[in-house]
Amino acid sequence: MTIYELQEQIIEEFAQFGDWMERYEYLIEMGRELPPFDETHRIPDFLIEGCQSKVWLYPSFDDGVITFEADSDALITRGIVALLVKVFSGRTPDEILGTDLYFIDRIGLKENLSPTRSNGLLAMIKQMRLYALAYKSKAEQS
């Protein structure tokens, strides 16, 4: 599935929810289903510190694609980062760098994108793109 198709699928899923409560419940569920985070990666290097909750993001690059593992100490944030992992993990750097993440706006999470909310969503996306950029230039050099 392309990133585009995946975004459409997420938007469709969220459209079925009646209210914010169901949306949050879904995010909480997504957060719970996120695979356990490797404790050796729970170090400051992989911490994206938002004002309100902590997010860890660990990238690895193999066979031209990036795999992300992530965690958060808050459940809803964990759900949000799980969504990002779902969209970005297993993609090439070019796919990650060239994609407009319009689904965030469409599923009612836009308020979480405001920099003043400081919950790290913006920082998470930025960090994922930075990793993509780094792996891309590394790949081009070798």
């Binding site: 949050y24 419940e25 909480i28 004002c51 309100q52 909750s53 100490d73 459940l75 809803i76 919950n119």
Partner: protein, 408 residues
Amino acid sequence: MPLAKSIEAIRADFPILATTVHGKPLVYLDNGATTQKPLQVIRTLDELYRTANANVHRGVHRLSDLVSDRYEAARETVRAFINAPKREEVIFTANTTASINAVAFSFGERFVGEGDEIIISGMEHHANIVPWQMLCERKGSKLRVIPFSDEGVLDLDAYRTMINGRTRIVAVTHVSNVLGTVNPVKEIVSEAHRHGIPVLVDGAQSVQHGTVDVTDIGCDFYVFSGHKVYGPNGIGVLYGREKLLNEMPPYQGGGDMVANVTFEKTTYNVLPFKFEAGTANFTGAIGMASALDYLTGLGREAVAEREQALLAQATAGLSAIDGMRIYGTAPHKVSVVSFLPGKIHQYDAGMILDKMGIAVRTGTHCAQPLMERYGISGNIRASIAFYNTEEEIEALVNGVRKATEMLA
């Protein structure tokens, strides 16, 4: 003592309380961060800009005179509100933070040197920590911190042993913004005064919850913000003892604070103007005075009494939730309740409560050392004002219960 108005009439004074959030009626329980403004304050500001706007203390013209008189009348209102001995001892600043920085800088320049000590408490807001740390860095002096118990009560024995010949000032909060504890500032002051040491009391969280009398407390400095006492933001108060203020150098130079300026030498104006450089926030001061008049009109003891009843309801309701931890159980508290249900992250709970229209604060509340003391990354704080209702407290308790179920 009953309030001078019914709760319905009081709520009608605060138009914002009738708004909705995410389609739900607003339940505003973040009064410790800032309070809402009554129509009386809003109208004062509106009327001021329409009829009396001019710069203060300057022109000989009519409008300037008018607004200067009202600015000075506001100073008198503040003086009376905290029962300060003299009008000249009331200095207008931008907010509590600005007031503390002013003292830390000016008092520090004059009285604090290398090896000297400053005492604060472990339950201070960052605003009453960082300015003193900056002073310590400048002067090579040392910060001492009064510890407190799990309940949130300061250890006064430890405080007594901390005072020594190098102590230059004690700076403590009257009320903890997280724990709600009302500290025994009168006792703290008298202990310091026995050793000739001045005391600054941070009144940001106390002045809005009943009567505050700086003469009775005996403190040398008392500071608070207008926006936390139902007034506009951008205005704050620094009360200081005349003798000390006269000995302290100005911390900002500019217009209004000078008597005579030549390129060789400038002499400073008298109190309070010596500490009010530049165009004063006269609209803020006059607006704040109308907020203080409003509170006085309602009855400050009645306000405190109502808030205590709502605090008791909130504490009982929240405590009944499984796994609830309340931070701050001192015998003498204002209407602030900080809590965490079970292992739930404050941010998750705050986001869910927000969708229910309930405004609480989540995080460290600008008191990171306090959170560290309890070994938590933050908590949820409901801070209650007299305009809150029993139904709103019930909505909070139900909301927290619902959030807890969702997140469990």
